[in-house]
Amino acid sequence: MGILILFACSQSGLTQIDTLALRAMDEATSFGFGSYQLKDTYLSPFIYQGWGGRILNERVTWLQSKLSRQRIIGVDLATTKNPAENVNDFGIFVDYSHAYHYNVFNGNDFNILFGASASIMGGFIYNTRNGNNPLSAKADVSLSLSLMLMYTLWINEAPVTLRYQGMLPVAGLFFAPPYGASYYEMFNEGNLSDVLAFNSFHNKLGLTNYVTIDIPIYTQTLRLGYLYSYYTTDVHSIQTRIFSNTLLIGWVKEFYLK
């Protein structure tokens, strides 16, 4: 990896720049693959484990010198098996988050940004064997805190940007069907009482750890990333867990503003 970076940077011809000041907007699209765990006690009391893929599009716009806006759209597809490996759970999730960060510490090469985001997530877990409860739908709107650490490492006078971002949901609303309610009762017969619940730390814990390395190669920027996503809820005596470790690769388009 080091050889690749040195080679890439030496060929890129990039000059030393203040990435935060001049990189007015970054758009990154990444593709990932990794391990997944799905658990939803509406479908099964057990954790299903397997693999999945993720597509992530991220746009960061610098609105002012210290204020940035980040928009992330992600699509997750996962296929998992029960402990006995005779049943599949398939998971499909789409999420969008809209965050604002303020640069609370601006060092030469190290920056700390802190902010908040509003996010929406929808999707479902589908169990291939269950009869009247084959599916558990997910819908979640939440407000989160977000911490971002950015560090620019100079290699051959080209910036290699390392970033860690942690996002912690604080409060929101989600779809939470009552313990034994069937989808027939809720959606065929229209009994939607108690299907929406306020969520916070008492019934939901989510954390996203996102690490990226942006490596300039010629006129392009390669992104390598790692995403650790943990989402667990416990409401109406139904426990849900969506857990993934994903390695990502993508590219970054950089738009400079004068």
Binding site: Q37, L43, S44, P45, F46, I47, Q49, N82, P83, A84, E85, N86, V87, G107, D109, F110, N127, R129, N130, G131, N132, N133, L149, Y151, L153, L162, Y164, G166, P178, Y179, G180, A181, S182, Y184, E185, N188, E189, N191, S193, L205, L207, N209, V211, Y228, Y230, H236, S237, R241, F243
Partner: protein
């Protein structure tokens, strides 16, 4: 230059520590692994039913006592066949055809809801009535024709697993345009989709009819239930309705969605039920599993009739009629013949 490198290393160490901290916080998981232990699976089955089954009180079953009775039969030296047999016998204590265990080699189902009663259906006899009938549905479970010189329509609907499209129903009712009465035969209809049974039932009313209630478990306690939520039969609004007399033929093998169909249409003024009490099965079933991968289905949500009464043990017919062996000898179905007489008299 040296100070800069030192500063970079310190910053990287800080980032690494923060990442590690975040990963540790969010990564603590306790996995439930595959487990073949008969004891573990016995306990898991008992607990699954204990927390989710909906008829303990109605059936006056002491599930703790059932545990005490069956638990000594299973140890970790028991084999998988012993376990399956014991779980199936334990499930039978609940007298519920909706409790099923599916292992890699067997399927358990309580049969008492029909096995101890006369079937009131002779397939050899029915074939003579179905001769020349039209078929519809993916599996030919729906057959229809006219009887009594075209004066009475007859539909045999053998399973509500078989979907029927509105266009297919329109076609059927088109073929009954000159009929004055209709027989719907749901004998041996062991259930399927409530959507299918509702679709057929919706053809027999031109008004929105309150037809029952549904409850669901709100927690793991045996009596943790929601308030009864009213169910309505919505009339089919854009095609053929059948508001002339209907007789629905029933027997003990009419179960689950079949039972629900009889309960719903039985309250309509133009519908008469005839035959034997249905088999029941009014608990809407959900599915889960055991640590060894066996599938378990169980009744989760009771569906009540319009008077808030359980129909778990069946719906009694308006007119009780049994199959007469003398009629069978003559290849006559007593229920169909009685229905024809009633409908002919009503014309």
């Amino acid at each position: 230059m040296g100070q800069r490198i030192l500063s970079q290393m310190k910053n990287m160490k800080l980032i690494f520590q923060l990442c590690l901290w975040a990963a540790i916080i969010s990564g603590c998981t306790v996995d439930d692994e595959y487990n073949e232990s008969p004891r573990r699976n016995f306990d898991a089955f008992w607990q699954l039913i204990d927390e989710n089954y909906c008829f303990f009180e109605y059936k006056n079953v002491d599930w703790n006592a059932v545990y005490e009775e069956y638990s000594p039969l299973i140890s970790d030296s028991s084999n998988q066949y012993d376990l399956f047999r014991t779980l199936a016998n334990m499930a039978d204590e609940l007298q519920d055809g909706h409790i099923n265990i599916t292992s890699f080699y067997a399927f358990s189902a309580y049969e008492g809801w029909h096995s101890e009663y006369p079937s009131n259906l002779n397939w050899n006899v029915i074939q003579t009535y179905l001769e020349g009938s039209q078929r519809t549905g993916d599996y030919d479970e729906i057959r229809y024709k006219t009887l009594s010189d075209g004066k009475i329509g007859y539909i045999y609907y053998g399973s509500f697993h078989e979907s029927i499209l509105e266009t297919e129903l329109n076609k059927i009712f088109d073929s009954f345009a000159n009929c004055n009465g209709l027989i719907i035969d749901v004998r041996n209809n062991g259930g399927g989709s409530l959507t299918n049974s509702d679709r057929l039932a919706a053809r027999f009313t031109d008004k929105r009819v309150h037809c029952g209630y549904i409850l669901h478990k709100t927690g793991k306690g045996h009596n943790d239930f929601s308030e009864p939520y009213p169910l309505y039969l919505e009339p089919y609004s854009i095609g053929h309705l059948w508001l002339k007399p209907v007789i629905v033929l029933t027997n003990r093998r009419c179960y689950s969605a079949g039972n629900n169909f009889v309960s719903k249409v039985g309250i309509l003024p133009n519908v008469t039920t005839l035959g034997d009490t249905t088999g029941g099965g009014s608990g809407f079933p959900l599915t889960s599993e055991l640590p060894n991968g066996w599938r378990v289905r169980f009744s989760s949500s009771p569906i009540l009739d319009v008077n808030k009464q359980q129909t778990e043990f069946g719906v009694a017919p308006n007119i009780p009629v049994a199959l007469d062996p003398a009629d069978e000898e003559r290849h006559l179905d007593t229920l169909i013949e009685t229905a024809i007489q009633i409908l002919s008299g009503a014309q």
